[in-house]
C-alpha cells in the first residue's frame, strides 16, 4: 500500500495534476486508475478492476453530488487525505509527501469563490452523469435507491452560510423591515452547528469522503434521533450482509483460502500481515488504500477461518 500511496503522491505526478487542464476523459481516467492500482507488484484481473473502478466512481459521484456547498468538495478531498494519512501514519517520508500535497491544495483552492467551486462541481457531475451502478453498501444504508439513483434528503442541517428556508422579510423604500411572513414545505431543515476546517489539521465536520467501510463509520443520517440510528448502524455493519458478500466474492476468489486472524500490533489502522504471499498482501493493500480496508474487519468478525 505504501507503494501505491507513494506513487499517487509523487511530486512529478502532482505537478502534472496541478497544471490547469481540462477534465480527463473517461478513458484517460481509467488508464490512470489502472496504472495506480498496479503501482505495486499486485495484479488484478479485468473483471476485478472494472468492479473496483465502478465502486470508486459511484462513491465519488455520491460525495460530489451530496456536497451541501460547492466548496465542500474541498472538505471531501481533505477527508480523503486525512484517511490516507492515517493509513501511513508510521511512514514519515510518505506522510511528508501527502502533507506537501495537502498544503498545495490549500494554497491553490482555499481562495476560490463559490462560483468557481460550483463550476468545478458541475464539471465533475457532468462526467458522472447517467452512471447508476448499484453499490451494495449504499443500497443497504438507503443512500441509493434500487434504480441506482442517490437519495437526496430534504432534512438535516442546511449548508454553512444558508438559512433554514421559510422566512420572508419585506422592506419599505427606506430600507426598514415592515413585514415578515413565513412559508412551510415538506423539508425539515435545521441550522448547522459549525463550519468544517480548511486547515491542514482540523475537524472537517462533513462526513462525506470519510471511510465508507469503517465499522463505526459516521453515516449521514438526517432522521430524528440520529444518535440512536448511528448506534444501530454500527451494529448492523458487523452483521452479515448477503449483498455485500456477493459483491465481494470476486475478492475472495482472488485471495483463495484465507486464514483471517486478528491484526497484529495496536494500530487503529488495519493491517494484514497474515498472507502467505507478498502478492496477496498487496491485494489487501490496494483494497485498504481504496477505503475498503475496514470491510475486512466486518467480515473478520463473522468469517473465522472458513473460506469466504
Amino acid at each position: 500500500m505504501n507503494d501505491i500511496i507513494t506513487t499517487m503522491f509523487n511530486k512529478k505526478f502532482m505537478d502534472e495534476l496541478f497544471k490547469p487542464q481540462d477534465l480527463y476523459s473517461k478513458k484517460a481516467l481509467r488508464t490512470v486508475y489502472d496504472r495506480l492500482a498496479h503501482a505495486s507488484i499486485m495484479r488484478l484481473n479485468q473483471a476485478s478492476m472494472d468492479k473496483l473502478y465502478d465502486l470508486m466512481t459511484m462513491a465519488f459521484k455520491y460525495q460530489v453530488l451530496l456536497c451541501p456547498r460547492p466548496r465542500d468538495i474541498l472538505l471531501v478531498t481533505f477527508n480523503h487525505l486525512d484517511a490516507i494519512k492515517d493509513f501511513i501514519s508510521d511512514s514519515p517520508g510518505i506522510l511528508n509527501q501527502v502533507d506537501e500535497t495537502f498544503r498545495r491544495l490549500i494554497e491553490t483552492y482555499n481562495c476560490l469563490s463559490d462560483g468557481e467551486f460550483q463550476l468545478i462541481r458541475q464539471t465533475l457531475l457532468i462526467f458522472f452523469q447517467d452512471m447508476h451502478i448499484r453499490v451494495s453498501i449504499f443500497l443497504k444504508d438507503k443512500v441509493q435507491n434500487s434504480n441506482g439513483r442517490f437519495v437526496l434528503p430534504i432534512s438535516g442541517p442546511v449548508p454553512w452560510g444558508t438559512e433554514v428556508p421559510g422566512l420572508i422579510r419585506m422592506f419599505n423604500h427606506k430600507g426598514v423591515e415592515v413585514r415578515r411572513t413565513e412559508f412551510t414545505t415538506a423539508g425539515n431543515y435545521v441550522t448547522p452547528q459549525r463550519e468544517g476546517s480548511f486547515e491542514l489539521y482540523g475537524d472537517r465536520v462533513l462526513k462525506l469522503g470519510t471511510n465508507m467501510y469503517s465499522v463505526t463509520r459516521p453515516v449521514e443520517t438526517h432522521m430524528s434521533g440520529s444518535s440512536k440510528n448511528l448506534a444501530s448502524q454500527a451494529k448492523e455493519n458487523i452483521a452479515p450482509n448477503p449483498l455485500a458478500k456477493e459483491e465481494l466474492n470476486f475478492l475472495a476468489r482472488l485471495l483463495g483460502g484465507l486464514d483471517i486472524q486478528k491484526p497484529t500490533g495496536g494500530e487503529t489502522g488495519f493491517r494484514l500481515n497474515l498472507f502467505t504471499t507478498d502478492e496477496e498482501e498487496e491485494y489487501a493493500g490496494v483494497l485498504h488504500g481504496l477505503g475498503l480496508g475496514r470491510l475486512w474487519g466486518a467480515l473478520e468478525a463473522k468469517a473465522g477461518p472458513e473460506q469466504l
Binding site: K19, P20, Q21, D22, L65, P68, P70, S113, D114, G115, E116, Q118, L119, L125, I126, Q129, D130, H132, N145, R149, F150, V151, L152, I154, V158, P159, G161, T162, E163, V164, P165, G166, L167, I168, R169, M170, F171, N172, H173, G175, V178, R179, T181, F183, T185, A186, G187, Y189
Partner: protein, 283 residues
C-alpha cells in the same frame, strides 16, 4: 454560400479541438425575428429559431495554454428590441446588434462593469428612462442598464458574499437567486433591497417570471421548486412577495425551471441525471 461553408468548417475545426458542450440555450425574441442563442466554452452561437441555420458565431479569446480560470460565455438576454447580450467569464458583457433578418450581426459594445464571471442576464421592455437590463455575476454584484446605441449604467448593487446564480426583471423589480438559497428583491431604480426570502436549502439554479401575473418560479439543488407571487402594494408602493406553491422533485437536484405560459399556470422542470422534462400544471 462559400463564405458560410468556410465559416462552418472553421467552426467545426475549432469545435473538434474540444467538445462543444453548450452550457445555455435561450430563445431570444426580438420584434422581427427569434434567434436561438447557445453559449459554451468556445463562445456564442446564434441560430434561426428552428435550429436549421447558424446565423452568427462569436469566438471567445481562448488562450493557447489552458489558464487557471475557465473561459466561457454565460448569460443570454434579448434587450431593447434590437440587441442580444451575452455574458463572459471575464466579466464583460457582449452586446450584439441584430439585423431584422440575415446574418449581419455585429458586436456593438462591450460592457465592462463586472469583475467576476457573469452568471445571468435579464431584460424587460424598457419604460422611459428606466433600466431594462440587469446583469449578475459570481460575486453577487448586480448592474442595471438602459439599453440603446450606447448602453448606460444606471446603478450597481454590490454582492454580499454569495454568487447570484440567476436574475429576472419585472416592472422595475429585480428578483435575484443566490447560491446560498436566498431570493432577494431589489428596486431597480434605487438599488434598494425590498425583500429577502430564505427560499431554498441549496444553490438556486433557475428563476423565471410570468409577466402577465408577476409569478416567480425558483428551482434549486434542494429538490424544491417554488412558485411565488410578486406584487406592488397600491397604498404604500411596497414590493411584496408571497409564497404560492411548492413542489418537491424527489431525489433530484433541479437544474432548470421555466413557466410554460405567460400567466405562469404551468411550468417545466429539469434536473441532474434526469432525462425527462417534468411538466406541472393546474389539477
Amino acid at each position: 454560400g462559400g463564405i458560410q461553408e468556410e465559416i462552418c468548417e472553421e467552426v467545426l475545426g475549432v469545435l473538434q479541438r474540444s467538445p462543444l458542450r453548450p452550457s445555455q440555450a435561450v430563445w431570444c425574441e426580438l420584434p422581427s425575428r427569434v434567434l436561438l442563442v447557445l453559449t459554451s466554452q468556445r463562445g456564442v452561437q446564434m441560430y434561426e429559431a428552428d435550429g436549421s441555420t447558424m446565423v452568427f458565431w462569436h469566438a471567445l479569446d481562448v488562450p493557447e495554454q489552458p489558464a487557471a480560470h475557465s473561459v466561457f460565455a454565460r448569460g443570454i438576454a434579448a434587450a431593447g428590441g434590437r440587441f442580444i447580450c451575452v455574458g463572459t467569464s471575464f466579466g464583460a458583457v457582449l452586446v450584439f446588434d441584430i439585423p431584422p433578418k440575415g446574418t449581419n450581426v455585429t458586436l456593438s459594445e462591450v460592457l465592462e462593469q463586472h469583475r467576476d464571471p457573469i452568471t445571468d442576464i435579464a431584460a424587460e421592455q424598457g419604460r422611459d428612462g428606466a433600466g431594462d437590463l440587469v446583469t449578475a455575476d459570481d460575486s453577487g454584484t448586480l448592474c442595471l442598464w438602459s439599453s440603446g446605441e450606447e448602453f448606460t449604467l444606471l446603478g450597481k448593487i454590490p454582492g454580499c458574499g454569495s454568487s447570484c446564480s440567476s436574475v429576472v426583471l419585472w416592472n422595475g423589480t429585480v428578483a435575484a437567486g443566490y447560491g446560498n438559497g436566498q431570493i432577494r428583491l431589489w428596486e431597480a431604480g434605487s438599488g434598494r433591497i425590498r425583500a429577502q426570502v430564505s427560499a431554498h436549502a441549496r444553490w438556486i439554479y433557475a428563476l423565471d417570471l410570468a409577466p402577465l401575473t408577476g409569478k416567480l418560479l425558483s428551482g434549486a439543488e434542494d429538490s424544491f421548486v417554488h412558485v411565488w407571487k410578486l406584487s406592488r402594494n397600491p397604498d404604500t408602493d411596497d414590493i411584496e412577495i408571497q409564497h404560492c406553491h411548492a413542489e418537491c422533485v424527489t431525489d433530484t437536484q433541479v437544474c432548470g425551471a421555466r413557466f410554460c405560459d405567460p400567466a405562469g399556470d404551468t411550468f417545466a422542470v429539469t434536473g441532474y441525471d434526469l432525462s425527462e422534462i417534468l411538466c406541472y400544471g393546474p389539477a
